[in-house]
């Protein structure tokens, strides 16, 4: 399990990085950030990039910047940096809930948030978060920078809208207003394994009624998805166990599963129900 040969580049600027990407796009140039997904794929020779462009030496990419309404997560920000202390309030709590489920500590110290997006695994917690909160991806090439909505970025199982000569520079996540309730549930075979099923639920309550409900599911679908039927049901309703049960059922019924499978449908319902019920 030794990787095939490649040429290694460690650019010091983003301009150099995207120039290298453009120059070697034909030879399967790949960006190396944390490497926690790509390096094993290379060890198994499932990936054989001709060029690796290591972006870890580019200043600033490891920065998290937080404004009143959004967080910008640089391309080299590690999973471990996104713990509960990265942001205050419900948004920070949600980050903490998710971060805890991403593999294990020695992976979290190296793997990056943006790398998870670039790999677009169906079981990625960060892809789920981006979809749940309407995040956007900042992608850059020699042609310039563009912003891509998470919904448009994640095309399917391990497929994204990123062009071969493009790299992710940062992810932008809208934060959640104070008072928002956040919940997350994940089922995996063992602690730290890829999710078989997971769900995020967030909502606020105003005058006893639910506002701004967001439900997103992952693992059971080829890419993270929102559950519009469940959100519609929740919107304006009074939160109670029966409502949550019905919303979970709606989410499961309408989920475009990777394959028709009563077990996966049931897992979907379980995850949504527990994310909703656990939201605090």
């Amino acid at each position: 399990m030794k990787s095939s040969s490649f040429e290694y580049h460690a650019p010091k600027t983003l301009d150099d990085a995207v120039a290298l990407l453009a120059r070697h796009a034909e030879e399967e140039a790949r960006v190396l950030a944390g490497g926690q997904t790509m390096v094993p794929a290379m060890a198994m020779r499932l990936a054989r990039p001709g060029h690796l462009i290591d972006i870890n030496a580019i200043p600033g990419l490891d920065q998290i910047s937080l404004t009143d309404h959004a967080m910008r997560i640089g391309a080299c920000v590690r999973h471990a940096a996104l713990g509960a202390t990265a942001a205050p309030g419900p948004f920070g709590r949600l980050l903490g809930l998710l971060q805890h489920h991403i593999a294990h500590l020695p992976i979290r110290t190296r793997g990056t948030f943006c790398g998870s997006l670039a790999n677009a695994d169906a079981a990625s917690e960060w892809c789920l978060l981006m979809v749940a909160l309407d995040g956007r991806i900042e992608a850059r090439s020699t042609a310039g920078t563009r912003m891509i909505d998470a919904e448009d970025f994640l095309l399917g199982y391990m497929t994204t809208a990123l062009a071969p000569e493009e790299m992710i520079v940062a992810a932008h996540l809208p934060t959640l207003p104070p008072g928002t309730r956040v919940g997350f549930h994940e089922f995996a075979r063992r602690a730290g394994d890829f999710a078989q099923s997971m769900a995020i639920a967030t909502y606020a309550v105003a005058q006893g009624r639910i506002t701004a409900p967001r439900i997103a599911i992952g693992g059971v679908v080829s890419r993270a998805r929102r559950c519009p039927e469940a959100e519609a049901l929740l919107h304006g309703a009074t939160p109670d166990p029966a409502l949550f049960q019905e919303a979970a059922r709606q989410a499961a019924t309408h989920a475009p599963l990777v394959e028709e499978d009563p077990y996966l449908r049931s897992l979907t319902e379980t995850s949504v129900l527990r994310a909703l019920t656990g939201a605090a």
Partner: protein
């Protein structure tokens, strides 16, 4: 028999720390990959990507052309080497099914070696291996051992043998039975999967005309003899060395194609050759195990007592017969009756080949499987006649008064005679320790509150201490240093410490001052290695006998020098002392050894040296036994099974080092949990392996471990050896599948629901009440 008194000794029976640990915690271990020789080259195996087909051609040109590649071999290059043999049981006719070291004309499993590449470094070797192209014309695959046998090769079928055993009049028992209980059960394909993959490093030392093989384990002497025979060498010119071994569990240390290939290459290419298996290779190349399908019927009386068992099973051996021959099927058939009184028994084990990785033994081979089957049966009988499963077992357990109990069966060529045991006594102790009665009340309350919780039991009988013999040589040098050379091997279980403890007990020296040599064919002529929980019984007994002889020699030598009779003397603190005045050291073992040197006047005409070699012989195995108890909780939403609490009670006659015994049991439980709930080598319909990484083959982590309690019992010492010991290596894993299946049934409130291992959340979820 010079039996050791049953009481705790000065060293034996104490949980002393291990001799092995110092270098291992410092990073100074010497595992296979840590062995390097100047000018070594690296071997990489090219493996079949297709499960079954005719090998039409292998194109090696591109690989040979790569700079740094030294050689590329296919079957044509090694055709003179016979296939890898097996250690025989009484079963005949397995020879045509042995594996050639490189596929000959036909590939029979995905992962089968079809070519090897030798190159200057491992990266390059892998580059070159990628360039070797095997052209294979696909044939239909056979992936289910229950299907009718197919053709293995012209003239031979995929059913090499049927293991048959029988006693009593089975048909008569069924004819008069009160009732008959029938079950169909399956155990999934999983295996030892040690953390260290295999490795083999060979070099030919022309100066001494010796072929060395490093990275070996378990069965060095047998392997040496076979390597010599297959390569046309003299056994004395082949030395096998054991360094540190990163877990054995049955699979490591068997003779595999790669061991012979590195030896052959070292001879032919004139350079040391190193091969280190990678994890993806390991998952398709190293022995699988366990996959069996059982159909059985039991004839019972009105009280649920067993009258007869009529069992049929299909053993999925994979593509070839390996070094164990039909051992797993043989042990399954022999051990299935377990701890219960049984008047008639008939078993037919269909030993069948399929297009999967070859299988062999994994810790508690044939017992993990048969305990699952037998204990499922006991639960089913209890449910049928409406009696508590514990009570049902009590009615059937053999009594202490029945011991020794001859089963009228043979296992591994020896008659099964259960040597000692108080089965009901250990059951009582286990239930009391676990708080079984209070637990039942607690579970009722939790169920009433909506939880899916249950408790289960598995009773097992192990076997250990397989003979026929093992020898140990102990030498004391003129500095008083003690060296113990054994034909045993170590796979990481603490052999050195245990043998040193036994030796130290008699010699009254510090066990930490004893050097234990094992796993080296150049230091002792014969040996039977480490497997089947045999080392403490066999090599431990030999150690005891050799130490007694050293003691006798020392006292005989010292007596005239001290103007005493030998029987007035004994050893204390490593010194000869008078029994009448044991506080006064008269002469150290070092001084005695000095008097026994080749120049000593005392030794004229005698063989010099304070050295003794003693052999222990056994024609019967010992039979440890025990109880597994489990509490599980099922998640209604996902079907996930959490094992909350677990107890293993294991009677092993005598625990030389209780801490090590508990360690063996805890490790066994974790592996058993894997086989019960997580681990499985899966294949798609084309025979492509689907469990080739640690992301697909799920080994339990700390997070999956239950709260574990271990009860090491010493109520029934073995009468078959001077220490009274029985093996402790396999009791921890033996009953896990049985106990967890029983507990899951209980949690589901559906007796008999669980019929297959591993128990998957998806299946459990489908069984949940809606």
């Amino acid at each position: 028999m010079n039996a050791l008194p049953p009481a705790k000794g000065q060293v034996i029976g104490h949980s002393v720390t291990r001799l092995e640990d110092g270098p291992l915690v410092r990073g100074q271990g010497r595992f296979a990959a840590d062995v390097n020789f100047p000018r070594q080259i690296f071997m990489r195996v090219v493996r079949a990507q297709i499960a079954h087909g005719h090998l039409i051609a292998i194109n090696t040109e591109a690989a040979r052309a790569l700079p740094g590649v030294i050689a590329v071999w296919t079957h044509a290059d090694v055709a003179s080497i016979p296939p890898i043999p097996f250690r025989a049981t009484r079963l005949q006719g397995l020879e045509p099914y042995c594996q050639p070291i490189l596929a000959a004309g036909r590939v029979r499993y995905a992962g089968e070696p079809v070519a090897v590449v030798f190159a200057e470094n491992p990266y390059l070797a892998e580059d070159a291996a990628d360039l070797v192209l095997a052209e294979i014309e696909e044939l239909p695959v056979l992936l289910d051992a229950r299907l009718p046998p197919a053709e293995f090769a012209p003239g031979t079928s995929t059913e090499p043998a049927i293991v048959r055993k029988q006693f009593g009049d089975v048909d008569a028992a069924f004819a008069t039975a009160f009732d008959v209980v029938a079950l169909d059960l399956s155990v999934g394909r999983h295996s030892g999967v040690p953390l260290e993959c295999r490795g083999a490093i060979a070099r030919y030392d022309a100066a001494h005309d010796v072929l060395e093989l490093h990275g070996t384990a378990k069965k060095q002497h047998w392997n040496r003899d076979e390597i010599a025979r297959l390569l046309g060498l003299r056994p004395h010119g082949v030395h096998l060395f054991e360094g540190h071994v990163g877990g054995g569990f049955g699979v490591r240390g068997e003779l595999y194609p790669e061991d012979l290939l590195v030896c052959l290459a070292a001879l032919r290419l004139g350079r040391p050759v190193k091969w280190i298996e990678d994890r993806r290779e390991h998952m398709v190349a190293t022995n699988h195990s366990r996959e069996q399908h059982h159909s059985l019927r039991a004839a019972i009386d009105a009280q649920g007592r067993l009258l007869a068992i009529d069992a049929v099973f299909h053993h999925d051996q994979g593509a070839y017969v390996r070094t164990h021959g039909a051992r797993v099927a043989d042990l399954t058939a022999a051990m299935l009756p377990g701890p219960y009184r049984l008047h008639a028994y008939r078993v037919a084990g269909h030993f069948r080949l399929t297009n999967k990785t070859p299988a062999a033994t994994y810790r508690a081979p044939g017992r993990f499987e048969s305990t699952f089957v037998r204990e499922r049966l006991m639960d089913a009988i209890a449910a049928r006649i409406g009696v508590d499963p514990i009570e049902l077992r009590r009615r059937n357990l053999l009594a202490s008064a029945d011991m020794p109990h001859a089963r009228q069966l043979d296992a591994l060529g020896t008659d099964v005679v259960l040597d000692s045991g108080d089965y009901a006594g250990l059951l009582d102790k286990s239930l009391a320790r676990f708080g079984w009665d209070a637990l039942q009340a607690e579970l009722r309350a939790r169920r009433a509150a909506g939880e899916l919780v249950g408790a289960g039991i598995g009773f097992f009988v192990e076997k250990s201490g397989l003979g026929p013999s093992d020898g140990v040589r102990i030498s004391v040098d003129r500095t008083g240093a003690v060296e113990l050379v054994s034909g045993a091997a170590s796979v990481g279980q603490g052999v050195e410490t245990v043998l040193a403890q036994i030796c130290a007990e008699t010699l009254t020296v510090d066990y930490r001052a004893i050097r234990v040599v094992r796993g080296r064919t150049d230091r002792i002529e014969f040996g039977n290695g480490a497997h089947a929980s045999r080392v403490t019984v066999m090599s431990g007994s030999a150690t005891h006998l050799a130490a007694l002889e050293i003691r006798a020699m020392a006292l005989a030598t010292a007596a005239p020098l001290l103007q005493a009779q030998p029987d007035e003397l004994t050893l204390a603190r490593g010194h000869v002392v008078r029994i009448a005045a044991p506080e006064t050291d008269l002469m150290s073992l070092a001084e005695v050894a000095a008097h026994m040197g080749p120049g000593s006047p005392l030794m004229i005409g005698r063989t010099p040296g304070l050295t003794a070699e003693r052999w222990f012989y056994s024609d019967h195995m010992t039979y440890p036994y025990g109880v597994h108890l489990a509490v599980v909780r099922i998640d209604r939403g996902t079907g996930e099974i959490r094992v909350e609490r677990y107890l293993v009670a294991n009677d092993i006659g005598r625990a030389v080092n209780p801490m090590l015994v508990e360690g063996q049991i805890a490790g066994g439980v974790a592996q058993g949990l894997g086989g019960a709930l997580f681990e499985e080598f899966r294949y798609d319909e084309a025979g492509q392996p689907l469990s080739t990484t640690f992301a697909d083959y799920l080994i339990p982590t700390l997070a999956e471990m239950p709260a574990l309690d271990v009860l090491v019992a010493e109520d029934a010492p073995s009468p078959l050896n001077p220490l009274g010991v029985k093996g402790a290596g396999e009791g921890g894993i033996n009953g896990v599948g049985a106990a967890i299946a029983s507990a899951v049934d209980d949690a589901l409130r559906k007796p008999g629901a669980i019929t297959t291992l591993p128990i998957l959340p998806r299946q459990v979820h489908a069984m949940l009440p809606r």
